[in-house]
């Protein structure tokens, strides 16, 4: 698949502070999450990708076109910035419609598009209120509306779910997932892991200006062979189960849960452990109620990668 957004050896300094360090990345169609703590370089990457900043070294392009001083590119790109900043003295409708003027749409179409975008984000009934009077969640939604009103092919969202209540988040997550089905490219950033996991399995992990890993979460997890896998087994007799594993060289560590029914096993060879577990169930008759991988999630992957 050809990359929609591509960065080659991209670096950006803010004075003496390195914002982004030699980042080479290819983002394909679909939804990609940019994950990292505050100050990791997510917003810097997005600002470079949307032409707000000029790279010091390297390039960043959308559909093969460099983004710095390329206004025509933004016909098909929509951006939702992170800061809570607006033209405050206009209504929600005027804000979205006013920005739609810059695409050359006819006046009637501008009105229709603005109404549709505001309806999508549930601001139809508040469209004639001044933005100054909007709540935090409404402001976030009108920001989103201006990013999608012109039906862009590429949508870049910087912390799109911040400030929204749980219901609002759910609605927006559903909306963003719908974009994938329409064949659009969505790049969004977040430092909240469950948000990323809810939207996509394809992530780019960023930390201190560097890309630590990219790909599907399970795939990344598989790559981290240096870190043992954790398997949690809830059973009727965790101690008898533990006794069966204690002599197995593939098992590194075992911990009993506070509930008295859980055994957490750390191992470098997950497949071997599962085979052993099957044997334990069959041969020893131990009832297994639940098996899970506590670290087969983004948080664990991220923590492993940043060495926490």
């Amino acid at each position: 698949m050809t990359a929609v957004i591509s960065a080659v050896k991209l670096s950006k300094w803010y004075g003496n502070v390195l914002g982004l360090n030699d980042v080479s990345l290819e983002i394909e169609a679909g939804i990609t999450g940019l994950l990292g703590p505050n100050g990791a370089g997510k917003s810097t990457f997005m600002k470079l990708a949307t032409g707000q900043l000029k790279p010091n070294i390297g390039t960043v392009a959308i559909h093969g076109r460099r983004t710095w001083n390329a206004p025509d590119l933004f016909r098909t790109v929509g951006f939702c910035p992170e800061p809570d900043a607006f033209y405050e003295d206009v209504t929600g409708f005027e804000f979205v419609a006013g920005l739609l003027r810059f695409y050359g749409f006819p006046k009637k179409e501008i009105g229709e598009r603005a109404e549709r975008a505001l309806d999508i984000v549930d601001l139809a009934k508040d469209k004639d209120r001044l933005v100054r009077g909007y709540s935090r969640g409404m402001r976030q939604r009108v920001k989103f509306a201006q990013a999608i009103a012109h039906d862009p092919e590429v949508i870049i969202l910087d912390e799109p779910l911040s400030g929204l209540d749980p219901l609002g988040k759910r609605k927006l997550i559903k909306l963003i997932k719908g974009f994938k089905d329409e064949g659009r490219t969505v790049l969004f950033s977040s430092h909240v892991l469950p948000e990323i996991e809810a939207l996509t399995s394809r992530v780019v992990l960023v930390h201190q200006g560097k890309v630590l890993a990219e790909g599907d979460v399970p795939y990344i997890r598989e790559l981290i062979e240096a870190h043992p896998h954790m398997i949690s087994v809830r059973s009727s007799d965790p101690r008898r189960l533990a006794a069966r594993f204690v002599g197995d060289p593939a098992v590194l560590k075992m911990t009993f849960g506070a509930d008295g029914r859980t055994l957490v096993v750390e191992t470098r060879n997950r497949d071997h452990l599962f085979a052993g577990l099957t044997a334990a169930v069959v041969e020893a008759g131990i009832e297994v109620e639940e098996i899970s991988s506590p670290d087969d999630n983004l948080q664990a992957v991220f923590e492993y990668l940043v060495g926490k």
Binding site: Q52, K54, P71, L73, R75, A85, L99, Y103, G104
Partner: protein, 262 residues
């Protein structure tokens, strides 16, 4: 979008936005103070038409030329770039298919239109209140349009200059104040061609009276040590200043990254 069509859309957006802000209302009210003064003058200088004419042609022009248009141009001119960066709204313009020079040109046009409107309203009302007896006189209208033309040229030149300052510097407004109320005033004391290194020199050269023509203290204040430039040259200089600083602003705005302080 071409620069021209984009600038037109930017003009439309910011003309409407600019009209709504409280600051525009405040500046518009400030421009109406001469109207109130004109009414007061008419009441208290009843029958003294010579005095009224002196008030209108001299004192009001001191207000408009050496205070009002400078304040307006300073605020709106620096706002062209600085306002978007400070309020973090520049992103909404940059991530549209709008060439960056169009943002500068469109906002410049919108704000100068607003300023021109406020100035014209204040000047027209106060001028004709004070010269009500001569409303039918074509010479009076010629003088009025000449004053208005001077002020409009001043707005264009000052706004272009302050727009350039606002793009280049972060604290442009203070330097702009020092320029507008310091340099532009002090330059009149400099001999020879030094005066030509100011905008106000060319504006004063276009006023419809000359040093020694009498008329009272206001004229003396405005034309103090003025060695006027020929009117056509003055107009060309003002147009040139406007075009040059506007072009520089467009070039710089396009080349520069605009980072907000946070």
């Amino acid at each position: 979008m071409t620069v021209r069509s984009a600038a037109r859309e930017v003009f439309g957006f910011f003309f409407v936005l600019g009209r709504r802000t409280g600051r525009t209302r405040t500046f518009a009210l400030l421009g109406l103070i001469p109207v109130a003064l004109a009414v007061v003058a008419r009441v208290f200088l009843r029958g003294r038409s010579g005095d009224m004419a002196a008030v209108s042609t001299e004192i009001l022009m001191v207000f408009f030329l050496q205070f009002y248009i400078i304040i307006l141009a300073l605020f709106y001119g620096t706002s062209i770039a600085a306002e978007e960066v400070e309020n973090r709204t520049l992103v909404y313009l940059i991530t549209r298919p709008v060439p960056k020079p169009a943002i500068v040109l469109g906002k410049f046009a919108a704000y100068t239109a607003l300023m021109g409107g406020m100035t014209a309203l204040g000047l027209a009302a106060s001028f004709f209140i004070l010269n009500a007896a001569r409303v039918g006189d074509p010479a009076l209208w010629a003088a009025f349009f000449r004053y208005l033309g001077v002020l409009v040229l001043g707005i264009l030149a000052y706004t272009a200059f302050f727009a350039f300052l606002g793009t280049v510097l972060k604290r442009a407004i203070i330097l702009g104040l020092v320029f507008g109320f310091g340099w532009e005033t002090a330059i009149q004391y400099f001999p020879g061609s030094t005066q030509r290194f100011s905008i106000v020199h060319y504006l004063k050269s276009l006023l419809p009276y000359r040093p020694g023509s009498g008329g009272g203290r206001g004229v003396a204040l405005l034309l103090f040590r003025l060695e006027p430039t020929a009117p056509l040259l003055a107009v060309l200089a003002l147009v040139g200043i406007t075009a040059a600083f506007l072009a520089l602003t467009c070039v710089l705005f396009r080349a520069k990254e605009h980072l907000s302080e946070d």
